[in-house]
Subunit: 347 residues, 2 copies
Amino acid sequence: MATIHDVAALAGVSVSSVSNVLSGRTDKLGAETYRRVEAAISQLNYRPNRAARQLKTGHTPMLGLLVPSTANPMYGQLALKIEAAAQERYGYRLLLANTHRDKQHEARMFEDLLSFGVQSVIVVSSMDDERHLENAVARGLAVVSYDRSIDLAEHSQVDHVSPDNFQAGYIATDHLIAHGHTRLAFLVPGGKTVSRSNKVAGFLKRVSEAGLQGSSEVIEGQVAETFGDSELADLGFAMASQIKAMRPMPTGIVTVNDLLAIGLMAGLHQVGLHVPQDVSVVGMDGLSIAAFTNPGLTSVSMPLDAMADAMVQRVVERSQQLELPPINMIFQPDLVGRQSVATPANS
Amino acid sequence: MATIHDVAALAGVSVSSVSNVLSGRTDKLGAETYRRVEAAISQLNYRPNRAARQLKTGHTPMLGLLVPSTANPMYGQLALKIEAAAQERYGYRLLLANTHRDKQHEARMFEDLLSFGVQSVIVVSSMDDERHLENAVARGLAVVSYDRSIDLAEHSQVDHVSPDNFQAGYIATDHLIAHGHTRLAFLVPGGKTVSRSNKVAGFLKRVSEAGLQGSSEVIEGQVAETFGDSELADLGFAMASQIKAMRPMPTGIVTVNDLLAIGLMAGLHQVGLHVPQDVSVVGMDGLSIAAFTNPGLTSVSMPLDAMADAMVQRVVERSQQLELPPINMIFQPDLVGRQSVATPANS
DNA sequence: TTGAAAGCGCTAACAG
DNA sequence: CTGTTAGCGCTTTCAA
C-alpha cells in the first residue's frame, strides 16, 4: 500500500501538503500543488491508512450496533437502515454484534469498541437494567439505546429512541375492542424488557377503560432464552395450546411482536382453531412478511426508517460533542389492518 | 484511556514486559513481573489500543461481511452465524455492509476495508462477474465468495463456498415428480446470479430425465431491483397471476428462494388457488419461518452453520497465509417436507 | 504557501 | 529476563 510519503514524493511536495489535500483544507494550498497531489493520489490509487489517522486523531468512522439477533427480521431490517444512514450521512461503517440480550456479550462488545476506538454505539437494549450502558458512557462512548423509553427523571447519560410502546399496546387492543372483542389476551415471552412492559401497560390501560379487566389477561410464555426468529415463533406456536385450553377462551389476542404472532397463528391452525373466525390476532413490529401470512397479519408497525435515522444522527453528533443533554425521542406507531382480525362469532 | 506506559509505570517494569504479557510471551517473563503487570492492567482497566497495534503489526481482528440485505432473513441468519464463528474461533469482530448486489457498493466497501486494514472478507456475491473480487485479492484481501460455486478451470484467486445449488434444484424438482406432478414451473426473479443459474440447471436436468420438457418451464419475474425481504415476496405475490393465467397451468412450482415462495403462496391464495390442492410449492433456503406459513412450506434447506464456519475459518487462515491454493467447497442441501406439496388432483 | 518534525500507542529487535 | 528504542502512517503545530 502506498503511503502519504509516496504521494508527496511523486507529486514533488511535502507530506503536509498532501495531508491538507486529504482533509480538504484547500485554502492553504496553491492550485498547482493541489492538482499535482490529486494526480499522484489517483495514480497510486492511494487511500489513507485509517489506523494511522485514528492513532493521531483519536477517532475512526465506525459505528457500533448491538442487536439481539439479526436472524429476527426486525433487527435485520433495523441493521439495514442504520447501516445505510450511517454510510450516507457520515460515511461511517458498521461494526455489528449479536448480543442475544446477554449482558456478558454486551459488556464484551463495549470493551472491544473502546479498544477499536469506536465512539458511537446504538444498542437494542437488554433487560431492565442499564447500568452497563451508563458505565460505557463514563468510559467515553456515545450511546443511544433503542426501544427503551425512559422516565426523564432517571437522569440517564444515554440517549433513548423508541417507538411509543404503550401506544402500540393501546391501539392494538383498541382495534380488537372496536371489532367487538371482549375476552382479550396479551402474549409475551418470559424475560422482561422495558418495551414489553410498556406494551403490556398499553394493553391493560385500554382493557380497563373498556371495563374488561375481568375477562382479559396477560399470558407469559415459558421463557424464550434466545431471541432469534425461530425461538420466538416456536414459542408462539407452543402457546396456541395454552390459549385453546383457557375457559373461557379469549377471542382476541395481541402479541408483543410479529414473530410470536406468526408462530401463534400456525399453532392455532394446528390445534384446529381458525384465524380470524375463532380467534383474532394482532402482532407488533410491522414486518414485511406479515403481509404474506395466511391470513395476512394485522400488526402495529413502527417507523423504522425515521428511528434509524434519528439514532444515527444523534449518536454521531454526540460522539463529537459529548456534553449534549440526553434526550428521549418517541415515535408513533401505526396500526396496519389485514385479515387476521374479524368480529368475534356470537358465543 | 490508560496506555501501555501507564501500566509499565504502575507495575514498575518496562513497556516491553507489558507488551510481552499482552501477547502471552510468558516464557520471556519472570513470575513476579508477570503478576505485577497483570495487577496493574486490571487496576487501570487497561485495554491495548487497537489502532496503535494495527499500525505496528499491519493487521486488525476484523472480518468484513458483504450481504445483499440483512432484511432478508436468510442473510440475517448468515450474518448471525458468521459473527458467532468469527468471534468464537478467532476473536474477530464483524464489519458489515449491505450491497443490494450492487457493484458500486461492493467496490466502495472493498476500498474501505483496505483502508481500515481489514484483510478478510466474506462476500455474498453479486452478479456473474467477479473481476472486482479478483482485483480485491490483488490488493491484498483474502476473499471468500459465498453461493457461487465455480469451475475449477476458472483459476480464480478467490475461495468459494456454496451449497450445491444444482442439487438443490434437482431434489426440489424430484420431490414434486415423486408426488406425481408432471407440469412443473421454476420461478426466478430477473437478474442472473450463478446460484440461480445452477438451481435452474438442476431443475431442467430432473425435468428432462423425467421427459417433462414439454410441460415444464422456467418463469422469470419482471426484475426485483433490490433484494430485501419485501421485494422478493412482493414479486412472488405478483407472479401468482402469471401462474394462474398459464394454459395448461403447472401443478408443481419450485422457487429460487423461500421469500419468493412465501409471496407466491399468498398470491395464489389471493387469486383463489389452493396450496397444495391446486398447486404444490417448494421453496429454497430453509428459513425457519417457512415452518410457520400456512400451509407449512416444503423447502430445500442449506447447511448454514457448517458453511458459515467453513467460510470464517478459510478466510482468516488465508489472510494469514496468502499463498494458499484457492478452494471450492460445496455443501449438500436437504429437503424438508411440509404441507405445501401434495399429489396433484386428477385433471 | 510550503516543509520539517514531533508524537499518537504499540511491537519487536537489540542491547544489557 | 528486562529495558531502550526505532519506527508503523498520519496530522498538526511551528518555522521558514
